[in-house]
């Protein structure tokens, strides 16, 4: 498939990778269908609809029906990718996700679009910062937040081949390609973006490149930060977190989500029970005030300086 053109120099919209990958997969496997809630445009599925008109099922603005229909399509032997804004997909139809998809164990792929605070000024009704917490408690639901276009494509391919429910959290925020050599997508495994022994920065989705930039900042101060791309929130790569606790003694989690119950919550649960070390959780404390995405990221410390400062705090708490 052709690489998507950068939005601005070096930055990409991961939705391009999502649709290009889905179209390629759908051309090879007629079982793949897309289910949407009037979200053809926001899911970038216009091209898919043109190529596979019978396989784009638009139930209109009806998320409960959308997820139930997804489960039914799986019962009927299809591989549905149910794609909608993350806030509505996970909030409005949470019981359908729980009962019809996860508890019933159907082979449904849930694709949360424009997640986190991507809708910026539209406010908390349209933000999806609760989804990690709501979904990761369901042990049998794989939850993945890819960090860049390459990982988005790999996650979609993995989900299509996997038998079982998956939630993939995408954003419309432009992100750079991660500079990691010889990448292999492994569901449930952290990707080491850089090695370091002084502190570990754990990100997922849109925050991984920010953590990496913060590591550059810390390096200039003589601090060697390890950076982990924890694309899979559930199941969590416990070995990578416990190794980070043991080897670096201080952890910062960085997520475009609530600090309650998501990636930071998962890391804190694990370390407090097995290897207590200072954990600084960056994210949103609750519903956020009005502001652009860029402003919200700066305001709540999801920035190079914010992450670096959290790293210094974690190290200080660890006596380093």
């Amino acid at each position: 498939m052709a690489a998507a053109a950068p939005l601005t120099q070096g930055l990409f919209d991961c939705r391009e990778a999502w649709v290009a990958t889905l179209e390629t997969l759908a051309a090879a496997d007629e079982r793949i269908v897309a289910v949407v809630n009037d979200s053809v445009g926001s899911s970038k599925l216009g091209g898919f609809q043109k190529k596979f008109p019978d396989r784009l099922i638009n139930v209109g603005i009806a998320e409960q029906c959308m997820v139930g229909v997804g489960a039914g399509l799986a019962n009927g032997g299809r591989i549905p990718f149910v794609s909608a804004a993350g806030c509505f997909l996970t909030g409005r139809s949470l019981e359908q996700v729980k009962a019809d998809v996860v508890y019933a164990g159907f082979n449904v792929k849930l694709i949360g679009q424009s997640s986190g605070v991507a809708y910026g000024e539209l406010g908390p009704t349209h933000h999806s910062i609760e989804d990690f917490a709501w979904l990761r408690v369901m042990k049998d639901l794989v939850v993945i937040a890819p960090a860049d276009p390459w990982e988005t494509a790999e996650a979609i391919k993995w989900a299509a081949a996997h038998q079982g429910p998956v939630y993939i959290r995408l954003s419309r925020m432009p992100v750079p390609d991660l500079a990691v050599a010889n990448r292999v997508f492994r569901m449930g495994k952290a990707e080491c973006v850089r090695e370091g022994q002084d502190v570990t920065l754990v990100g997922c989705g849109t925050t991984v490149h920010l953590a990496d930039a913060a590591a550059d900042r810390l390096k200039a101060e003589g601090i060697a930060a390890r950076v982990l791309n924890m694309a899979t929130i559930n199941p969590l790569d416990e070995a990578a977190i416990l190794a980070a606790a043991a080897e670096t003694g201080a952890i910062v989690t960085v997520e475009e989500a609530s600090v309650r119950g998501g990636l930071g919550g998962a890391v804190a649960e694990l370390t407090s029970a097995n290897h207590p070390v200072p954990v600084e959780r960056l994210g949103f404390p609750g519903f956020v005030p009005t502001g652009s995405v860029e402003w919200l990221f700066q305001e709540f410390g999801l920035s190079t300086e914010g992450i670096a400062a959290a790293a210094r705090r974690a190290m200080k708490r660890a006596g380093k």
């Binding site: 029906c65 139930g68 229909v69 019962n75 032997g77 019809d100 019933a104």
Partner: protein, 272 residues
């Protein structure tokens, strides 16, 4: 005509067995929803022993007709019909709601062969059935999908989302049966949040609508077995909650009431 080649007589025999067996399950477990079991049993016996194409040896057979039990609390009806249909041996019914039983209070397809989807929370069956019917539609498959909902359950908005979708897509391969016993957990449907005129509502959503006596096996067989049309078909089956046991009929408190020894014995005398 023998029982074997008289379909109505066979359905009647199965329905009687289901009522007796379901009530014993509820009595033994001292848990369950017998009122709703009894209003649904004649419909379900008719579907499984007069209409549905299935093979209990191959619950995943792609071309099977599907039956979705949206009123998932009526497991007395569902588990007895699946047992009678040959999906599992009768002694499994003795484990109803026991620790680690495959016969949970609400059905789980991962535990029990023949269960098409997990239900329990209301308003889930029709959207899932709509998705199954869409799968059949886009692949030109021959199977049919039947979904049984309660009537109080119609108060869940998700049903109307799916009713709109199925109507707009002309899912002629989908049949929706409403177990219209007019009672929900605490009171009558019409005094709680009225549903009428249900037939006009379904028609307005693009469905063919048929009314039937939900305890008349011959009439049920005729409407359920009818050749599918262009539109999805809604069958409003007028039923009696607790049907078959005089002291249970039309009593809301038998929604999840359970019998004591005297009541169980009295019911068994009536169910013959």
């Amino acid at each position: 005509m023998t029982l074997q080649n008289d379909p109505v007589a066979r359905i009647k025999e199965k329905a009687l067995w289901m009522r007796r067996r379901a009530f014993k399950m509820v009595y033994d477990a001292q848990l369950g929803h017998p009122g709703g079991d009894f209003s649904a049993i004649d419909i379900m016996a008719t579907i499984y022993f007069g209409v549905l194409s299935f093979d209990p040896a191959r619950p995943d057979w792609a071309e099977r007709d599907r039956f979705i039990m949206s009123k998932g609390h009526a497991t007395g009806a569902l588990y007895t019909v699946l047992c009678a249909a040959g999906y599992f041996p009768e002694d499994w019914l003795d484990t109803y709601m026991q620790p680690r039983s495959m016969l949970n209070g609400h059905p789980n397809r991962n535990y029990l062969p023949g269960v098409e989807t997990n239900t329990g929370p209301l308003g889930h069956g029709l959207p899932v059935a709509t998705g199954i019917a869409i799968a059949g539609q886009i692949t030109n498959a021959g199977f049919r999908t039947f979904v049984l909902t309660g009537d109080g359950e119609m108060q869940e908005g998700s049903n109307w989302e799916a009713a709109m979708t199925a109507g707009n897509r002309n899912l002629g391969n989908l049949t929706w049966i409403v177990d219209r016993n007019r009672l929900q957990q605490g009171a009558g449907t019409e005094e709680t949040n009225g549903l009428e005129p249900l037939d006009k509502k379904f028609a307005a959503f693009g469905w063919d609508v048929v009314m039937v006596d939900g305890h008349d096996h011959a009439a049920l067989l005729k409407v359920l077995g009818a050749v599918p049309g262009e539109k999805p078909r809604a069958i409003i089956a007028n039923t009696v909650k607790g049907k078959g046991v005089s002291f249970m009929e039309n009593k809301a408190n038998w929604h999840h009431g359970v019998p004591n020894a005297d009541q169980f014995a009295a019911a068994m005398k009536e169910l013959v």
